[in-house]
Symmetry: D3
Amino acid sequence: MTRLDENHLSSGERARVLVEALPYIKRFHGQKIVVKLGGVAIEQRKQETLLDIVLLRYVGMLPVLVHGGGAEITSMSDRLGLKAEFKRGLRVTDAQTMEVVKMVLTGKINPDLVASLNRLGGQAVGMSGEDGPSIIAEGHDADLGFVGRVTQVNAEPIDALINRGYIPVMASIGLGYDGHAYNINADTVAAELAVALGASKLILLTDVEGVKGPDGQVISELGRARAEAMIAGGQAEGGMIPKLEAAVRSLDAVPYAHIIDGRTPHALLLELFTEAGIGTMVTP
Amino acid sequence: MTRLDENHLSSGERARVLVEALPYIKRFHGQKIVVKLGGVAIEQRKQETLLDIVLLRYVGMLPVLVHGGGAEITSMSDRLGLKAEFKRGLRVTDAQTMEVVKMVLTGKINPDLVASLNRLGGQAVGMSGEDGPSIIAEGHDADLGFVGRVTQVNAEPIDALINRGYIPVMASIGLGYDGHAYNINADTVAAELAVALGASKLILLTDVEGVKGPDGQVISELGRARAEAMIAGGQAEGGMIPKLEAAVRSLDAVPYAHIIDGRTPHALLLELFTEAGIGTMVTP
Amino acid sequence: MTRLDENHLSSGERARVLVEALPYIKRFHGQKIVVKLGGVAIEQRKQETLLDIVLLRYVGMLPVLVHGGGAEITSMSDRLGLKAEFKRGLRVTDAQTMEVVKMVLTGKINPDLVASLNRLGGQAVGMSGEDGPSIIAEGHDADLGFVGRVTQVNAEPIDALINRGYIPVMASIGLGYDGHAYNINADTVAAELAVALGASKLILLTDVEGVKGPDGQVISELGRARAEAMIAGGQAEGGMIPKLEAAVRSLDAVPYAHIIDGRTPHALLLELFTEAGIGTMVTP
Amino acid sequence: MTRLDENHLSSGERARVLVEALPYIKRFHGQKIVVKLGGVAIEQRKQETLLDIVLLRYVGMLPVLVHGGGAEITSMSDRLGLKAEFKRGLRVTDAQTMEVVKMVLTGKINPDLVASLNRLGGQAVGMSGEDGPSIIAEGHDADLGFVGRVTQVNAEPIDALINRGYIPVMASIGLGYDGHAYNINADTVAAELAVALGASKLILLTDVEGVKGPDGQVISELGRARAEAMIAGGQAEGGMIPKLEAAVRSLDAVPYAHIIDGRTPHALLLELFTEAGIGTMVTP
Amino acid sequence: MTRLDENHLSSGERARVLVEALPYIKRFHGQKIVVKLGGVAIEQRKQETLLDIVLLRYVGMLPVLVHGGGAEITSMSDRLGLKAEFKRGLRVTDAQTMEVVKMVLTGKINPDLVASLNRLGGQAVGMSGEDGPSIIAEGHDADLGFVGRVTQVNAEPIDALINRGYIPVMASIGLGYDGHAYNINADTVAAELAVALGASKLILLTDVEGVKGPDGQVISELGRARAEAMIAGGQAEGGMIPKLEAAVRSLDAVPYAHIIDGRTPHALLLELFTEAGIGTMVTP
Amino acid sequence: MTRLDENHLSSGERARVLVEALPYIKRFHGQKIVVKLGGVAIEQRKQETLLDIVLLRYVGMLPVLVHGGGAEITSMSDRLGLKAEFKRGLRVTDAQTMEVVKMVLTGKINPDLVASLNRLGGQAVGMSGEDGPSIIAEGHDADLGFVGRVTQVNAEPIDALINRGYIPVMASIGLGYDGHAYNINADTVAAELAVALGASKLILLTDVEGVKGPDGQVISELGRARAEAMIAGGQAEGGMIPKLEAAVRSLDAVPYAHIIDGRTPHALLLELFTEAGIGTMVTP
């Protein structure tokens, strides 16, 4: 562990941070935490975020990462001369595009995250839902092609790796009974994995401060009923809807779901080990 | 298991095949068998080869697959407008080309093999050497870029999957201490894995009948010394050299290495479960 | 394993036999199979039958053998000057005759089977129902003396031997609560053992091709109801009745019972590992 | 346990017997004790001797019984009209006689002991050296036929039964590499079993008070060297020689061998649980 | 074990004591036995009583000791100049007195018992109810101060020591939820421990022969209903009441409670291992 | 866990404390840490010190406490009218005084520490070296009476409690082979326990800032050789000598020994989980 810059805290201040953190560290020992990486957390804060993940594993938590990768898919599709088409905000994914999705997620973003975690001292193993297979999917709209939703999760191969000390990193792709691969929203995959693994927390790292109320303030704690009302009533803005849906879905089995700001350095540590927490906690 | 065509064998003939096969089935029960897939075996005989792999797992063997994928890398490089350059018969692999290698091997060929095995009733999990990391590599010639050789194998994550009943499928990529991915010859990767896993057999599926002697006849059993002489003395033709080198390397820890004809239907079953075997067996 | 005679099969033919057999080998791995030996199987086909038993153990099945021994009992009784008396087709078994039964079954046939299995590479241990005691019996007709039926099976000592890798060979004798040994029909003992052990199959090796229908043809698959009707309606000929009764009894817990022709060489292998099977399968 | 006759002991006397016995009971807990039954112990004191065996098992010892059966073999041979022939005091055992030996030991005496132990609340399982095979033998004099000596003991099947709570009862027959059964002296078998099982004691129940010195007094404790001198020097009388040889042989691995008087009621309990002991203890 | 004086018993007499004792030794093997030490047993018969305890552990029983210590508390209070006050026969225990109770029980009597057991070859570990905490208590009468009753038992730390082979010795002190230590009647603690540990017997060693009936004779076997009637009806004399209450309480989970005479040498061995037993057995 | 006062730290400052602490928390997970309590740490900082101990256990460390108690022994001796005598700075400990030592350490200080830990949410079990016995001692100077040194440590009973999740609290008393209890210096007991338990750290909490050099500054890191020189050369002041001796002794098996200032609040947390540490670290 390289030495950090001097931070001018008194021993009393340091002691108080530790006295506050230790009970949380105990509470989560041996617990599975599913973290969805996205946006800034995966781009500009990548080193800090992945260091946090490695530290979580150090103190006995069992983190599982999930990622998608929209921007890089678009860029590679362009290079290969595939014309992008969107319907209802979703990319129409024909067979050729799906091939690109697999190559980018499984063949580029996933191994890059894995290699970075390994360099930071973690032991990561990349997977997609086709491995095992661990995520069974089906198409949800005929005109969107290979865009799918999760129908079943097989946690066994993921658990096998967790139990041997590895950090699984999962690309958001599922295998259909028809033998085709499907592209699935990564928030959804994270929620389904959290349920199937019996995780203690689902944490979605986003590019906003949290879920905001009508007054523009971040809501610290959001009950399931109110979250469902926000989805149904249209108060939730575009990109927040699948996140709220994922959070609500996970509550079927997971005690807490968190939507937090991936732009804050070490957002994960602050959420998990300080009393205040950050962002929005969605509760049953 | 779908019904096979009627095969007109008498019960006596069937009994004899079984009486011959059963001792081999026992001998290999719980043994690891590393199989390098390549050429015809991965293209035209893919279904039969993968069915054999699934059947091996059925009767208690522990198969591990390794694959490369030269042809598809070339084709994808072309589509992305990368100019191919070769030195001493090896592809010069700059950073951009390496990105293509990863996408094709880890993001395309590997998940396709995994999905096919899963459809045939196996339970496969794809990996590359960056996962774990399981294969540590280094470059071997500065002017070839990210072409590497294996310096260390970490069998732990592979064993974790084997022990839980999965068939690992490994793409021939390694992770360097410099944080870069390296492209490695798949025969070599297979040999190093066989050694690190304590495999009972290394089987290289090729597009030829086996190793041939000066008389053009396939050599059934080839001692290590003679194999080394064939490499050193130049009697081995081009493509056969890395295979012979891999076979010889594996003999440091593996009792038998086989170079067999992937064009023969069910070549693996015939090699493993009949007294005659097929192709060339390299022995210590 | 000694080399077998050349059998002139093409590699394609061999491959097909294996592709067909492997799923069965997997299905029965770790499963208990109770085999009743009798007639020709124990006399002229003894070597082939016992070799099959050893091979079953090799590939992970758990065979249990049961035997009686009518003919040798008669011969030894004659030598000792005991007068044979029969009622309703059953031997009247007084104390002296019972002593002969024990000596012949436990002291002659059983150790001979055990020694033969051991010579063929199996590891067999002989038992009678008095050991443990594993078979509790009672007399069923006062005027028949020590002819008994099974009232209870204690599978524990048999399981102890199976779990350590041994092939139990059981003589069809039980211990009564009155402290006397009883002579029991071996088909019945095999059925009761199959139930108590949770076997996956009961196989009765006989001297006929199988159960025959009114047209004289062997019935491949015979439902329980029809088998019961054949017993009740008298269509089953003399020696077949106890076999059908044993098969029907075993179906209380065992999925399949087989009445097959012990005169066919390697009848057990053909029944277990080929799609067609041989003889009659009795199903629930 | 049925109530015993009143025995008029004061509570102080009872307490002293117990205070003396308990350390021995502890010392032998979980220890294997090989007991050779013979003569009076197997005939007139059978109930008391077998009750002692069951009680030993009750308090956590692991008794193993060995028996021969010379007198009954002679009687059955006579009934079958076989002419007995002796050379150097040993019965010439041709194939027909060996068949009788097996029938009497394995098919009569052994199951009778097993059934009696079972009735007294023990759980006994009968074996001969052919089972497993557990005793490998070879002939020792060509003109004696199938009279053999032990060349190897395989304790595995015996241990399997002991570990599951059973009392093994072993008939003194071995299996030769030539596939033939051999008749072996039961004292020898007991000594070899004691060594192979790592027993804590070998106890030979005889029809005399113990080993006697020149003064006609029983020797309480007999060192190995003196025992060997008695054999070599001819001071040991006929029947005592094989017993002394067995005792000496067992000392290669067993701490104590005892030659005690089977005519004393409950001789085993008195030997094991009282300070004085009875008979002769042979020590390394 | 030091040699005991010669006790002039015949081998037949010794054998009968053993034949009678062994089934009891078996029955109690691995069973927990809670013994309350008090009065003479802890003073004049201490060596014999503790030797019995060590012997019980030797033969596989799991004894647990409980003790109080009224007389020594009084003596130490006097030395420290504390004035004793009694109400309804119970010592008024203020904070200063409670400090003395802890010092005497935990700091004097308990380590003395522990050291004696250790010297006799046992392995003892002393505890009070504050350790763990294993005994949760509350005050039962405001004017008695820190005199308490048991509200809950946590058997875990006691079991941890038993399982590693130790003899726990428990001082009759409990910890209140208010953080105060409470002095509890040792008979009561023994009964509650016996229930919480799932003991097979509770044995209270007293200074009388047992529970006596109206005729002044010791009652050998006393049913629960009659015991309750004796408490309610006032037939039980002063010191016997808490013992009878403890015995009755233990019957909620323990099969037998015994009130026996600690003045008889080796009273425990006689109670446990002879058919007659001694003192009074209270039964459900 | 009760809420702490607001401490006005930014999230960045909190994150830095955690990023620094987590690797230490991992490093010590499952490691045994022996802590000697004394002076201020046991008097004025008792709550903070014991809270730290409980928190260490929470995050997976295995703390073991050792304590003496000189001041209270003196005070109780005075109350009981025992005249104190000192030789060479050590209390002459006759039998009566030793009784007081046991009562105060085992019957007062020890249960008070245990009860406090239990109230703070730990699970503590008190012991002295007589329990097990875990500490074997002998007198070291005839004229000092029952003042002893450690001759042997039996870690088994302590390990039994640690493995079941308890915090052992050990009073510094040992049991002699002569059956007497001995009073031992608590620093020494802590060092011997640390060696016997295979602890990762020995921490001595004192009333000074650490070991000071000739310049009056605390020495942060002190090599074994220099520590030995300070003892031999007389540079170490009175009370520091036994602490330095204990630290040096522990280095035979323990990687680090720490002499730290028990007056600093949460001194243990700061020592263990911050990069700077506090006080003096003695290294091999």
